[in-house]
């Protein structure tokens, strides 16, 4: 019989390891400040 792997365990194995130095993309909003913040 096919043994159903626990989802958590599978997820653990399937999680793609982050490459070293991975920098998450900057948040989409709010945008950059063009002059100064008040």
């Amino acid at each position: 019989s096919v043994k159903k792997r626990a989802v958590a365990e599978a997820a653990q194995h399937d999680k793609v390891p982050r490459p070293v130095g991975f920098v998450p993309p900057p948040p989409a909003c709010p945008g950059r400040i063009l002059h100064f913040d008040i």
């Binding site: 989409a28 909003c29 100064f36 008040i38």
Partner: protein
């Protein structure tokens, strides 16, 4: 398999910037008071697809006041942003736009403007003068005296006050009032106005000639008044500006 939905627009994406530029031009084009505003930051952008080639776009924009009066013909890109030390004014705008077949247009906009907090300014610049209230007696007296002084010396058209743009009062070392106000040319020469000033009305829209004055009144240690007015000349498509009677001022 249905196509994956497009990635959400980022606030710094070129398309968001293009939409914000159109929105800022719309806001300045539909304002008749105060100063031109320029983009400082795109706070948020949301795109709601409405079917093939049609999106509704909601923008939240942070704007900053420039030193260009709203009636000035100076292009926005040539307008200096009011510096922090001059007591900056910020605008918060919500804009609804649509994009149909790639063409962006504004459906509606709502803005609120407010000066930077005095505490924040004084924290950074303790000696910077703060914006004064527009109905401050010193301010009203300075504007009135400056316009009378200018009209008494000009050989051109008699000018009427449209609105006070901003004013600042400094109490140290001397007592100084600096004001900026918008003016309009009337159908009288300054000489004619001496005889019957009530007859002097703003020129009709197809001949209108608006301008802007800055005045500095020193009350202490010695009395001094300097006023400088620049008229823009007739501009095609100038907006209808209501003439303000002496007691009613708009504020920026």
């Amino acid at each position: 398999v249905p196509a994956a939905p497009p990635a959400p627009l980022g606030c710094d994406d070129p398309e968001s910037q293009a939409a914000a530029d159109i929105a800022v031009n719309y806001i300045n084009g539909h304002s008749h008071h105060g100063y031109k505003f320029t983009l400082n930051r795109i706070e948020d952008i949301r795109v709601v697809p409405q079917g093939p080639n049609k999106d509704i776009i909601f923008l939240e924009l942070d704007l900053l006041e420039t030193t260009c009066p709203i009636l000035s013909p100076t292009p926005l890109e040539n307008c200096t942003v009011r510096s922090f030390a001059e007591h900056a004014v910020e605008g918060d705008c919500d804009v609804k736009m649509q994009k149909v077949d790639g063409t962006l247009s504004v459906l509606a906009s709502k803005c609120n403007s407010h000066a930077d907090s005095s505490e924040d300014l004084l924290k950074v610049c303790p000696d910077c003068p703060l914006l004064a209230k527009m109905n401050d007696t010193d301010v009203l007296q300075t504007v009135s005296a400056a316009l009378n002084d200018y009209n008494s010396k000009t050989t051109e058209s008699y000018l009427r006050l449209l609105e006070i743009g901003r004013a600042k009062i400094q109490y140290h070392p001397g007592h100084t009032i600096v004001t900026e106000f918008a003016v309009g040319a009337t159908n009288c020469s300054a000489e004619e106005a001496k005889a019957n000033v009530e007859a002097c009305q703003l020129l009709p829209k197809d001949q209108s000639n608006f301008g802007f004055c800055t005045a500095v009144m020193v009350k202490h240690p010695s009395q001094d008044l300097r006023v400088d007015c620049q008229l823009y000349g007739h501009q095609v498509g100038a907006p209808d500006i209501p003439l303000l009677s002496a007691h009613w001022y708009y504020t920026s």
